[in-house]
């Protein structure tokens, strides 16, 4: 077993087990804890898959940002030490069976697929998804240039650059921020008469 395989196995198992633990935990604080583990080891899997920037983003945004947000949520809504909103075992079992069914369906499909082989790295030493070192191509693609795909094949550029989503997502984040802050803040005046 190579080192990479070993690391993959460790993190894959960690990811799955802690995801399961999220499902099975009965208190929300434990769920949050297991979620951190799961998402963190997913980031490790990303690194293993040569997606270094995505892995870093996962750690920063997901584990560092989103999860902290969730933990805030936990703290804000925990009304007392006794509150434990449990789930009946039966429900979990039924949901689990359904989940297994879904898993089966997915693997009945993708099990036999012969995946398209990747195009080997371009001559210009700019890495593709397969080779790693993706920071520069990713950054360029957000500006709309795709040297990884377009430099190799002497034709006019045809791969998609991602300038537009990169910009439009900022508008989206702005809107979302406005919406979330509206919902979360208290009304300054008295609320209108309940209808």
């Amino acid at each position: 077993m190579s080192g990479e395989n070993f690391l993959f196995s460790v993190f894959a198992i960690l990811t799955c087990v802690s995801a399961l633990a999220v499902v099975l935990s009965q208190t929300v604080v434990r769920m949050a804890f297991w979620l951190v583990i799961s998402l963190g080891s997913t980031a490790a899997l990303f690194f293993l898959a040569n997606a270094d920037f995505v892995g870093a983003a996962q750690l920063l945004i997901y584990v560092g940002g989103t999860l902290v947000l969730l933990v805030f949520g936990v703290m804000l809504t925990a009304s007392g030490p006794y509150m434990k909103i449990g789930t009946s075992a039966g429900e979990t079992v039924v949901a689990g069976l359904l989940g297994l069914l879904f898993l089966f369906v997915v693997f009945a499909c993708i099990g036999g697929v012969e995946w398209r082989k990747p195009v080997t790295g371009s001559a210009d030493n700019i890495a593709t998804g397969a080779v790693g070192n993706t920071l520069r191509p990713l950054g360029l693609s957000f500006l709309g240039v795709r040297p990884d795909a377009d430099l190799a094949n002497g034709k006019p550029p045809e791969a998609s650059g991602y300038l537009l989503p990169f910009e439009i997502v900022s508008v989206h984040l702005l809107v979302v921020l406005i919406g979330a802050s509206y919902l979360a803040r208290a009304k300054r005046r008295a609320a209108p008469v309940g209808q």
Binding site: M31, F46, A51, G73, A149
Partner: protein, 102 residues
């Protein structure tokens, strides 16, 4: 090639399924939102894996980056709504969301 694509896909699918189960069984609203994160994360594992092993290439990683950002945005709004629900109902138990039915 190490690990292999299908192994990654299996991890992704497990995360996805765990997320769905989490959404379907947790009565705590925050817990449900954690399920959402798991689901999106499962899909993300897929994208990164495809990016490594197929000629989806860098597109897959870009996709997953956007997903991370959008998931953060969604989490923010969802959390705000959950807090709002909590303010109105004084509980975060989603089973108490039972006024609207029929």
């Amino acid at each position: 090639m190490a690990a292999g694509l299908n192994a990654y896909l299996l991890v992704g699918a497990v995360l996805f399924v765990c997320g769905v189960i989490c959404m379907a069984t947790k009565r705590n609203g925050i817990g449900v939102l954690m399920g959402v994160e798991l689901v999106l994360n499962g899909a993300n594992v897929n994208f990164v894996a495809f990016s490594r092993y197929t000629d989806l290439g860098l597109d897959g990683q870009i996709f997953s980056l956007f997903v991370i950002v959008l998931a953060a945005a969604e989490a923010a709004v969802a959390l705000a709504i959950a807090l709002n629900f909590y303010n109105n109902h004084l509980t975060i138990d989603v089973d108490r969301a039972n006024k609207l039915k029929g």
